[in-house]
Amino acid sequence: MSQSPRHYSMYDKPMWDSIQEGAMKLQRCPESGVFRYPPGPACPASLSLDYEWVPVSGKGKIISWTVFHRQYLPAYPAPHLVVAVQLEEGPIMVSYMDAGHAGRIALDMSVTMEYATHPDGYKIPKFRLS
């Protein structure tokens, strides 16, 4: 059993479990069809407490990015490229890309999710240019 990042609610565990299996899932509201992120108890559109875990396509586009020029965490030496990606399903997700992309990315570029192993031992979704 690999380690897991901190869970901020009981709804984080199924998401991280799906990531460990290499197929990230998010909750979708059966009533409104709206995907939500981060995971949580209710749909922000319908307030329905029902949900189903649905795999995401892994496709998205770049909303913004920042390059860390200082190392803050042992896992991520500088330079470290953090990206905000809007998933095809709607939610915006913060993730990262290999720092070599830094000079080449622009708003709205298409990206694809892949999985890396965090030094703490768990899988984590990251992105590459499509």
């Binding site: 981060p38 990015w65 390059v67 020029h69 953090v82 905000a84 915006i92 990262y96 965090h118």
Partner: protein
């Protein structure tokens, strides 16, 4: 659509004013802490500021019947140390503390409210980044993304400004104008920690931290305290100090998609700022063209761009041109953060901006004085809570 003239216009305008301000010795304490000393803890800084605010107001502690403490000190312990048993109390950040004081006065729960803030953030090495930042989880957006390496509030503003910069074709120099302008004000302010002149070349020579933000786009981290005395208007008129009146308040929050950064990245908080602008200007009976000095919560320099646009000082995407054409520093047509703000004066989490509003409206600041200063506006957008106060004399 509700009729705002009944619900907002007359509600809290001109019913209270600031009659006393006090703060600690930011410059001296910054040097002492860097030398390894610890002058006070948060409660000590708050108490020193409170003593000075009482003196400034010319009132005694016994007159205080309301107490609001900042987020960094426990309410009960702060009240115990100040030995105040009020008939109304609370805990809040700077802008919410002013709102709460006005509401308490409006409702008759208190007439003389002391607002006290102390923070030993530098000597105590408080972490504003990392997975446990700010206690972890009270603002989920500050901590949720740390598995991917997004660790700090500065990085959230870096993401925000990178998108804005790409959308409107700005350069690093455009952003640098904020730090340079605020440092011009700080150079004239004996209370400012960073007074050495900063040129655009100096700004550009500093390294990126979270690109596109450089060292001087970040606020200081320093120890200190601030206290304000807010008094019911008719009583304030009999006070030693001519009160600086609270002319109008406005607030609008964006909580939707806060953790996944939607309102921040897609809208730059503009819808909330526009709502707040409508409220605060209507309440005060003025518009952006009447504002003589604009004080913006500036944990990071991009705040100034979003405030100028969100509150109607310029059009959407026009802040860089506005700053270049009008000027926000000394000699500029729209003075912004005339104390140097969080970037150059002191990082008192919005509390020092309230003191600066009072000082500009009292007048007599010499080279730093905004001429014919009649209205000062404070604006903050911390974590999607767009709030504003208009002060007048």
């Amino acid at each position: 659509m509700q009729d705002k003239s009944d619900t907002i216009d007359k509600g809290t305008s001109n019913i209270s004013g600031i009659v006393g301000v006090g703060h600690t010795d930011w410059v001296q304490d910054y040097k002492r802490v860097r030398n390894g000393e610890k002058p006070f803890d948060s409660y000590g800084y708050a108490t020193l500021a409170f003593n000075r605010a009482l003196l400034d107001a010319g009132i005694s502690r016994d007159e205080v019947d309301g107490l609001i403490v900042g987020p960094t000190t426990a309410y009960e312990r702060m009240g115990e140390i100040l030995n105040i048993d009020p008939r109304w109390g609370g805990q809040a950040d700077a802008v919410q503390a002013v709102f709460q004081a006005v509401m308490a006065i409006k409702s008759g729960f208190a007439e003389v409210v002391a607002l006290v803030y102390g923070n030993d953030q530098r000597s105590a090495a408080i972490q504003y980044g990392g997975p446990e930042a700010m206690g972890g989880g009270s603002f989920l957006s500050y901590v949720y993304h740390s598995p991917w390496g997004l660790t700090s509030q500065g990085a959230l503003y870096a993401l925000m400004f990178q998108r804005y910069k790409s959308m409107w074709g700005l350069t690093d120099r455009d952003l640098g104008e904020v730090s340079v302008g605020q440092r011009q004000w700080a150079a004239l302010n004996p209370n400012a920690i960073m007074r050495k002149p900063l040129t655009l070349d100096d700004y550009l020579a500093a390294n990126y931290i979270a690109e596109p933000l450089r060292l001087n786009d970040y606020c200081l981290i320093n120890d200190g305290g601030v206290a304000l005395i807010i008094m019911e208007a008719s009583r304030a008129k009999r006070c030693k100090q001519k009160p600086v009146m609270i002319r109008g308040l406005g607030r609008s929050d964006l909580n939707h998609h806060a953790t996944s950064l939607g309102p921040r990245l897609m809208d730059f908080y503009r819808p909330a700022q526009m709502n707040t602008a409508e409220q605060v200007y209507q309440a005060a009976g003025v518009g952006p063209e009447d504002i003589d000095a604009l004080l913006v919560y500036d944990s990071f320099s991009p705040h100034i761009f979003f405030a100028l646009e969100g509150f109607g000082f310029c059009e959407e995407g026009g802040a860089a041109k506005f700053i270049a054409d009008k000027g926000i520093g000394v000699g500029g047509q729209m003075p912004v953060n005339t104390s140097g703000g969080h970037l150059s004066e002191s990082y008192m989490q919005g509390w020092n901006h309230q003191i600066e509003a009072v000082r500009q409206l009292r007048g007599g600041l010499g080279d730093r004085q905004v001429s014919d200063c009649r209205h000062v506006q404070y604006v903050s957008d911390v974590a999607g809570k767009a709030m504003s106060i208009i002060y007048g004399n």
